[in-house]
Amino acid sequence: MTGSLGTETDSPKSATTKIRILRAIDRVLHDTLNCRNAGIVAQLCFSISRELANSSSGRFCDVNPAGFRHTPADCESCVIAARESGPGNGTCEEGDVTQDSCFTSMLKGKCAVSNCTMPCFTLYKDLVLNIIDGLAYHKIIRDRHGNAVDLEFTDVNPAFEKITGISRETAAGRKITEFLPGIKEDPFDWIGFYDQVAQSGKAVTIEQYSHALSRWYQVHLTPKDEDHLIAIFFDVTKLKESEQMLKSLNEQLELSIEEKAQQLKTINNELDSFAYSISHDLRAPLRAVNGFSRALMESFSDKLDEKGQHYLERIRLGASRMGELIDDLLGLSRISRRSLKRRKMDLGILAQGIINELKRRDPERCVELLIAGNLEVYTDMKLMRIALTNLLDNAWKFTSLKQTAIIEVSSTIDKEGRIFVVKDNGIGFDMQYSDRVFAPFQKLHSRNEFEGTGIGLAIVQRIINRHGGRIWVQSSPDECTAFYFTLKNGGEVIVSDE
């Protein structure tokens, strides 16, 4: 700056005029930031200042009051900021904090980055003006007792305008309660919080909803001293909305899972009471059909011919059979309802016990039992006993026409893991019917040939499924039948299981 703009002998009036001039220069600086060459900007400033000094600056100010963007305090803070920003601007000394020397120093100051010739002021101004985060320089306004009562927005950057929708003209140099009166109704005490941060001297980052602006902001506050701080912030409303939506979706999901679980529980309870009702209510009329048919036969046999008695016998048998079917269905539903109680057990020992019982009941039969060693598994004892009993009952039954029946219980390993095998040399069946084997009440042999309701393998399959395994069959007529099944983790004990 030239000496004509600032001497220590200036009268107060002329000093005010000069300050106004400087503000105008500042505005020009601001508006000409697009000039890449800092020298051109400087030259521009000088020429304008000369021009203003020789004209009536008062009139200039009156005509363009909106052109003043800086308050004197703000200008001072610019100088302080420039001084603190690094050694490259070392030309700004304590005593230089006067209106003209402040600008001079800043324009002379060089960037701290080596080889960079751009003046500090331009560099920082560029940064402040182009950064996408909102920036605001604040001063805490206190009452005479020192209590924070308001917050001055000493200055703000263009991103602030964009983010908040509040223009620089509205905010800069003004108190927040003036341009955003809604701040007083905000449940979050912004002024109090800013004061607290300024007093603490420690930078903080918060995420807070502004009720006055109806937006979420992440605000990073850096205190300069106990009355001043810098706020860097950005709008996180969309993020917050997404977060809240995610949270509410999660809650809905949890609710719906809970609802589903509740529904399942209700269905299970219904199933339970249905099974109970079957067991109790359906059997009673069957007893009546069977019982009174028998009574009829006993008491009135002389009045019934052979055909009549035969029909009564069929009625009785039908009722008894239905009783069996109901019991089988109940048995099947019980397997699904039972909670698994796994323990270590050996399928070989279990199979031996079951075959011993079959031998005891049918001592005439000649059956050779081959059991492999080490068939240890970790399963529900009661259910595995039911499964193995059904498989061995079948093997026993379908080998009854053989001179020497052979039943084999063993295991092999393949890519699926451990596979257990129950094999017999019985009558077998045509593999085209293999998919019907495990369906309830499906039989591949007529009732006259072999007893049974056809529920056994359906029960076995359900038990294996409950243990996380699968079962399949290989058979060839008059040669052999082999049932293969897997168990979860190969039936091994896994501590974390269940």
Partner: protein, 142 residues
């Protein structure tokens, strides 16, 4: 414990089952007097009736009964010092584990599931009669 006579108290709400049970008892020549009641409330009233000269020798109790369930009747029988030693046989259609467990927990003497087939049922009643009315020594008179 009051003195017992040789009456059998049959608690059964189903008329078919009632008739079949009486039929089975009679065809097995069990000549005890049979007192039949239709529900749990009636059963408890009968047992509570102080004018009775004595308690029945055996109670045949169905579980699913109107008003007061068979299980509740059993519990009340066991909770009264007058009847707590009374032989009670549950005769029911249910073979649900929870029913069986609840009956044993409440001090039932025996739990029988009624078979559908009348021949089996008749055999069952015969065995019951033989065991509880002939072989078994009932609680002492008090």
């Amino acid at each position: 414990m009051s003195r017992m006579n040789n009456t059998i108290l049959l608690v059964e709400d189903n008329p078919d089952d009632t008739e079949l049970t009486i039929m089975a008892l009679s065809e097995n020549r069990i000549g005890n007097e049979i007192k039949h009641v239709w529900d749990g409330e009636e059963a408890l009233q009968y047992l509570d009736d102080c004018s009775l000269p004595s308690l029945p020798q055996l109670v045949l109790l169905d579980l699913k009964l109107p008003k007061i369930s068979g299980l509740e009747v059993l519990k009340q029988i066991r909770s009264s010092p007058r009847t707590n030693r009374l032989p009670v046989v549950v005769l029911t259609s249910s073979d649900e584990d929870q029913d069986i467990a609840a009956c044993y927990d409440s001090g039932v003497n025996s739990y029988i599931r009624k078979p559908v087939d009348f021949d089996q049922f008749s055999e069952c009643v015969k065995q019951l009669g033989l065991y509880w009315l002939v072989l078994n020594i009932g609680p002492p008179e008090m």
